[in-house]
Symmetry: D3
Subunit: 149 residues, 6 copies
Amino acid sequence: MAVKIFFEEFITGAQRTTTGRTITEADIVLHAGQTGDFYPHHMDAEWCKTQPFKQRIAHGTLIFSVGVGLTAGVINDVAMTYGYERLRFLTPVFINDTITTTITIKEKRDHKKPGFGIVTELLEVYNQHRQLVLVCEHLLLVQKKELHG
Amino acid sequence: MAVKIFFEEFITGAQRTTTGRTITEADIVLHAGQTGDFYPHHMDAEWCKTQPFKQRIAHGTLIFSVGVGLTAGVINDVAMTYGYERLRFLTPVFINDTITTTITIKEKRDHKKPGFGIVTELLEVYNQHRQLVLVCEHLLLVQKKELHG
Amino acid sequence: MAVKIFFEEFITGAQRTTTGRTITEADIVLHAGQTGDFYPHHMDAEWCKTQPFKQRIAHGTLIFSVGVGLTAGVINDVAMTYGYERLRFLTPVFINDTITTTITIKEKRDHKKPGFGIVTELLEVYNQHRQLVLVCEHLLLVQKKELHG
Amino acid sequence: MAVKIFFEEFITGAQRTTTGRTITEADIVLHAGQTGDFYPHHMDAEWCKTQPFKQRIAHGTLIFSVGVGLTAGVINDVAMTYGYERLRFLTPVFINDTITTTITIKEKRDHKKPGFGIVTELLEVYNQHRQLVLVCEHLLLVQKKELHG
Amino acid sequence: MAVKIFFEEFITGAQRTTTGRTITEADIVLHAGQTGDFYPHHMDAEWCKTQPFKQRIAHGTLIFSVGVGLTAGVINDVAMTYGYERLRFLTPVFINDTITTTITIKEKRDHKKPGFGIVTELLEVYNQHRQLVLVCEHLLLVQKKELHG
Amino acid sequence: MAVKIFFEEFITGAQRTTTGRTITEADIVLHAGQTGDFYPHHMDAEWCKTQPFKQRIAHGTLIFSVGVGLTAGVINDVAMTYGYERLRFLTPVFINDTITTTITIKEKRDHKKPGFGIVTELLEVYNQHRQLVLVCEHLLLVQKKELHG
């Protein structure tokens, strides 16, 4: 489904939460296969037993990819991703943890390109214990309605 | 393979380049399957023909994941990822493009945690036409040798 | 996203169309791998050249699974799948064809379970040439609002 | 392996049973990835704990695809799938359940196309507790031997 | 399907040929992901253009795995794999090549374990140009009928 | 990373050990999907309970592929795989076993092709109990330095 939500229509402070997604062993195996990162932290359960966390942990790029992917749904035809800022991995995600993403409109500002603004979404990915596992800011380049006024 | 490279041993300006990786249609299909992002930009070749780019484009999170994954190889036992900054998608990646990542040690600074510093790696992902497709800064939290001195 | 759409609220004749999905060679390879059906019709390009269709064709169960999957989006908390009827494969789907599903509310009828009705959705899967490739009826068991009145 | 089994050679009441297949968490993850159906019933173990079934359930289209795929083996050169009827999901399939398909020749009838008949196979998919989890009728369009007589 | 074919029943010189299987780009991507072998010979189309073969080639372990997998079908309950000998990769396999395996009973000999013999199957994997791409000997440990006599 | 290690530089008796890799249920599911080998030994947990090993076992070709893949890392530009000898499966690998490969330079000998020699690497794959699960000899065709002298 596609809609048009213009810069002026984003409301600072507005918040939504996605459905959850259980991170499975299969997800980690597939992500190693996609990225080529077979570090023992993700792939060697025996070695992990000797480490502080005692078990395999998900790749940071997996949690980022799924955390962002959970927010996909309705397409906004007048917005596009500009980039990400302040991406931090705060708590490791283990096999069978379930993550959920909360999106909050944090800030709006003009952009040098006339007729466009930058909307900053705060993405917070939580596990089932309500621990924050990943946080980042998603910058959206959004058309202003004035362009079309 | 695991090594120990301490904070003091990182040399600002040092640079390395990874092997290349062709982004295939299968990679996009698998990444959609992993993230749940089935937007037509990635999955609907017919719709893409009606768009400025005329063809399917890879997910930003795919290029980030593979671009970072290409740098995996030797494990540094005294460093861990702290986060990423200034992630930008500069050129779309199409099916059959081949990407390569260049890593440059950009900056070193102390960290509030005693005995640790932050090393900033600049990650630049290029396609086969030497166009910069993605850029970001990778922050590494690295032990200082003094700790062990 | 979850909503409640009760039996009384379904409108016979209402119609919606999904986004499109290009059926890739990777999809066929993955579906063979999931189902164990490695018949040469799907997996042997050389043999297919000797057949009327001249090229590999997608598994019927793949087109059914993706055609139904395309309709997933908003969850209706008061409906569940009861079954499917009259599933027919009308035109083969080839690698790189793009399919889209149209859902039409075809019929509503009472169900023996008090407080429930059956809603029949007609699912029509088209390729990019607007040829009907698959058709079936999806039976939904839906709560009546009276239950909650 | 390919054989020719003509319409006249199908024997009503004949029955065969396939080998078994354990439905793994990986199968569900891959099927979500193939179909785009990431509903929490399949993907969110935490949410499922709050539901009557307490655990994730396999997609209906996965059980149909694997249940049908289990019957693949010998190719009958003179038969092709015409469609499916009366597909019903009777019991949910959970992770680690093992399914087996029983095929019974239920009915034979003429088809309007001269020299062809319709053979109806009853497909019954059972879990390891001998509960019927899925049932459907598979319609085969089969050449008559007379054509070749 | 399972059968019992005893040592005495293997006939030296007997031969069978499998159906074909097209090796797709997706197969190579998946095999890299399974094995962790992302060498540019398999994954970097640009680099391959600078090499004698000009294009990506399939992993040897992929062709071995699929070449052997093609022979799977009927299970022989009284035989098990003992090992493989003389595995050679004779011609590279490229994306879209179609391979077929021919199995020839090459030799039978006694085994030190009483009541068992070794059957040597010659596996020859051909591409669509009838070039031999892989050859190996498959050693089967097979029960003798005398055991059951 | 690519290096040049000539025939003369291989040292008989030299040994290295790879990182470990846990063989997951997902790996087995993916390998069945890649090879088409869905034998109940790998795919049917219920049937396996009735067998001596009581549980599903990994495909031999999976352990060979991953065991070899673990040794991938640095590319030797002056060596290529000639073949494998004496491949034996000594102990079954179960889901969640972790395997590691030890490579020992076993033997060096001249090759009929002038300027080349054969280096035999002994590959030994162990599980986490230090049981040898697979052994084989990897034959490398390696350039002699004299060629370049």
